[in-house]
C-alpha cells in the first residue's frame, strides 16, 4: 500500500492517548478500597428464615440445579409440616435467584456479600444453622424491595469517572 496521508491518523490517535495521561484513574485498589455492590446483588449463599418457612419445598422444585435438599415430617399436635432438614449445596448453586422469587412465604433471601471462598468442599454444603441470617450474613434486596431500601447505595463508575483531572 502506498503511503498516502503522512500519518495524520496515527497522530490523531496519539493525541487521544496523550490526553489520557491527564485523566483520573477509574480503577480502585481492591482489598484496601471496597465499593458498594448492588442492593439486589445475588451474592453467595442463601439466607433462610426458619420461622417463616413452612416446608412446602417450592424452592427445591424450582431450583434448576437441584441443590436444595429438604426433608419434612408432619407434626400432629401443631397440624403442620416440620422441617427436619434444609440443606443447600452452594458448590453447585448458580445463584440464579429463582428459589427466592418462588418462595410463597418470603422465607428465602440471597446474601448481600461476596468473597465466600472456602478451603474444603464440605464447607460449601450449608445446613439449617449455617443458613440463618447473622451480622456477617446479611440478606440482599433481590426480590425483596423492603430490604433493598435499607441497604447502602451502589457505587457507580458513572459517578466516579469525571473525565479530566
Amino acid at each position: 500500500m502506498k503511503f498516502e496521508r503522512y500519518g495524520i491518523g496515527i497522530a490523531k490517535g496519539l493525541s487521544v492517548t496523550i490526553r489520557h495521561l491527564l485523566r483520573r484513574p477509574v480503577t480502585t485498589q481492591y482489598p484496601e478500597q471496597r465499593l458498594n455492590t448492588s442492593r439486589r446483588i445475588r451474592g453467595n449463599e442463601l439466607i433462610w428464615d426458619r420461622e417463616k418457612c413452612t416446608g412446602c419445598a417450592t424452592c427445591a422444585k424450582t431450583c434448576p440445579q437441584g441443590v436444595i435438599h429438604i426433608v419434612t415430617s408432619v407434626s400432629i399436635e401443631e397440624n403442620k409440616y416440620k422441617v427436619e432438614k434444609f440443606e443447600v449445596d452452594t458448590g453447585y448453586c448458580i445463584f440464579c435467584g429463582l428459589c427466592v422469587e418462588a418462595c410463597p412465604y418470603e422465607a428465602l433471601f440471597m446474601g448481600y456479600a461476596y468473597e465466600r471462598a472456602r478451603y474444603r468442599r464440605g464447607e460449601l454444603v450449608l445446613a439449617e444453622e449455617g443458613l440463618l441470617a447473622s451480622d456477617e450474613r446479611k440478606p440482599s434486596g433481590y426480590a425483596h424491595p423492603e430490604i433493598a431500601a435499607t441497604l447502602p447505595k451502589q457505587t457507580l463508575l458513572l459517578d466516579k469517572d469525571r473525565g479530566k483531572r
Partner: protein
C-alpha cells in the same frame, strides 16, 4: 533450479490467544499463504440443548445466560419470546420497554468487546480494548443495579421481567446516554483513520454479498456485505416498530466494514435507548403466569436481532412442564461457516484479523 515446495498442515488452536475461546483451525499452508482451512468445533460442548429438555420452562432461562455470555440479556429475550409465542402469554407494556432498554444496552456492551478485541487482534495491543472495557463496565453497573449480577443476568421471565427497575436506574441511564456519544467519538479519533489499521483491514477477508446470502450469515457480518437486513425491521418483534433508527450497512464486506458497522450500530442503539426512555410507561412488569408453564402441544420459533446476528430458539412442546425439543439457532456458528471462503488466499497474519472481525463467542458456537 526450481525449489520444490509442498503444503503442510498447521493447527491453530484449540488453545490459542487469538481464537477467543477453544476453537481449532486446521490450516493447510503453502509457505505463508493459506490454501485450505477447516474449522473444528466442539471443544466447549456442554449439552445445553439436552439439559434444557429436562428442566422447567422457567428453569431454562439460567441456561440461556450461558450460551453467549457476552450478551446474556439478548439470549433471555429470545428464549422468552419463543415461550410466549408457544404458550400465548401477553407481556405488559412497561415490561416490553424495559426489555428493549436492556437489549440495546447489551448490544452496546457486546459491540464494545467485539470492536475492542478486533483492534487487539489488529495489533493495537490493549489500549483500545481497555478504553472500551471502561465503558462496558458502566453498562454492567446498570445491569447489576437492575438484576443483581454482572454476567449471567437471568433477568427476563416468561411474560415480563423478574422485577421492576429501581428508582435510581433512570437517572443513571440518562447520564450514560449523555456521555456515551463522546466516548464513541473518542474511539473514532483513536483508530478510525489510523494508516496501519487501514492497511491491515481494508480489502482483507472480503465476504461477497452473494456468498453472505448463501451461507445465511446474519448480524453485522451480513450487513457489512451491503445487505440491509435487520430482524428488528424485517420481522419486528417486541415493540421495535415504534422506534426510529437506521440500519448501518457496509459496502465491500471487508474487515474494516465490519468494524465500522459495529461502531455505527452502537450510535443507533443510543438513539433507540433515548426514545425508549422517554416513552417508558408506568404499570405492571410481569403478567400473571403460572408457576409451572404447560404450553399446548405445538412448536414455536422466536428470533431476535442479537448483537452477533439472528438468534433463534425453536421449541417443541408436548404439554408437559419441560420442552420436548429445545434448539438454538446460534448466529456465530452460522457466520463461521463462511470463514473458509474469507480466509483462503490470505496470509497467516490476516487469518487472525479475519477471525477476530466475525466476533464469535465459543459458548454459543459449541453450547
Amino acid at each position: 533450479m526450481v525449489i520444490k515446495t509442498e503444503p503442510f498442515v498447521v493447527n491453530i488452536g484449540p488453545a490459542h490467544p487469538s481464537t477467543h475461546g477453544v476453537f481449532r483451525m486446521r490450516t493447510t499452508l503453502d509457505g505463508e499463504v493459506i490454501v485450505d482451512m477447516e474449522p473444528v468445533f466442539g471443544y466447549l460442548h456442554r449439552g445445553i440443548e439436552k439439559l434444557a429438555e429436562e428442566r422447567t420452562y422457567t428453569g431454562c432461562i439460567p441456561l440461556t445466560d450461558r450460551l453467549d455470555y457476552l450478551a446474556s440479556m439478548s439470549n433471555n429475550l429470545a428464549y422468552c419470546l419463543a415461550v410466549e409465542k408457544l404458550a400465548g402469554i401477553p407481556v405488559p407494556e412497561r415490561a416490553e420497554y424495559i426489555r428493549v432498554i436492556m437489549a440495546e444496552l447489551q448490544r452496546i456492551a457486546s459491540h464494545l468487546i467485539a470492536v475492542g478485541s478486533f483492534l487487539n487482534d489488529c495489533g493495537a495491543f490493549m489500549t483500545p480494548i481497555l478504553y472500551m472495557i471502561r465503558e462496558r463496565e458502566k453498562i454492567l453497573d446498570l445491569f447489576e443495579m437492575v438484576c443483581g449480577q454482572r454476567l449471567t443476568y437471568n433477568y427476563m421471565r416468561v411474560g415480563g421481567v423478574s422485577q421492576d427497575i429501581p428508582d435510581e436506574f433512570l437517572p443513571a441511564l440518562d447520564k450514560f446516554l449523555k456521555e456515551m456519544p463522546g466516548w464513541i467519538d473518542e474511539y473514532d479519533r483513536l483508530l478510525k483513520e489510523n494508516e496501519i489499521l487501514l492497511a491491515r483491514s481494508k480489502g482483507v477477508g472480503i465476504l461477497p454479498r452473494e456468498l453472505a446470502v448463501n451461507t445465511s450469515a446474519s448480524g453485522p457480518v451480513f450487513r457489512a456485505s451491503g445487505v440491509k437486513w435487520d430482524i428488528r425491521r424485517a420481522d419486528p418483534y417486541s415493540i421495535y416498530d415504534r422506534f426510529e433508527f437506521d440500519i448501518p450497512t457496509g459496502s465491500v464486506g471487508d474487515c474494516y466494514d465490519r468494524y465500522r458497522v459495529r461502531i455505527e450500530e452502537m450510535q443507533q442503539s443510543l438513539r433507540i435507548l433515548k426514545q425508549a426512555m422517554e416513552q417508558l410507561p408506568k404499570g405492571e412488569v410481569r403478567s400473571d403466569v403460572p408457576h409451572l408453564i404447560r404450553p399446548p402441544v405445538g412448536e414455536a420459533y422466536g428470533h431476535i436481532e442479537a448483537p452477533k446476528g439472528e438468534l433463534g430458539f425453536y421449541l417443541v412442546s408436548d404439554n408437559s412442564i419441560a420442552p420436548y425439543r429445545f434448539h438454538v439457532r446460534a448466529p456465530t456458528l452460522i457466520n463461521l461457516t463462511a470463514l473458509r471462503d474469507m480466509m483462503v488466499g490470505w496470509k497467516v497474519a490476516d487469518l487472525i484479523i479475519i477471525f477476530g472481525s466475525i466476533d464469535i463467542c465459543m459458548g454459543e458456537v459449541d453450547r
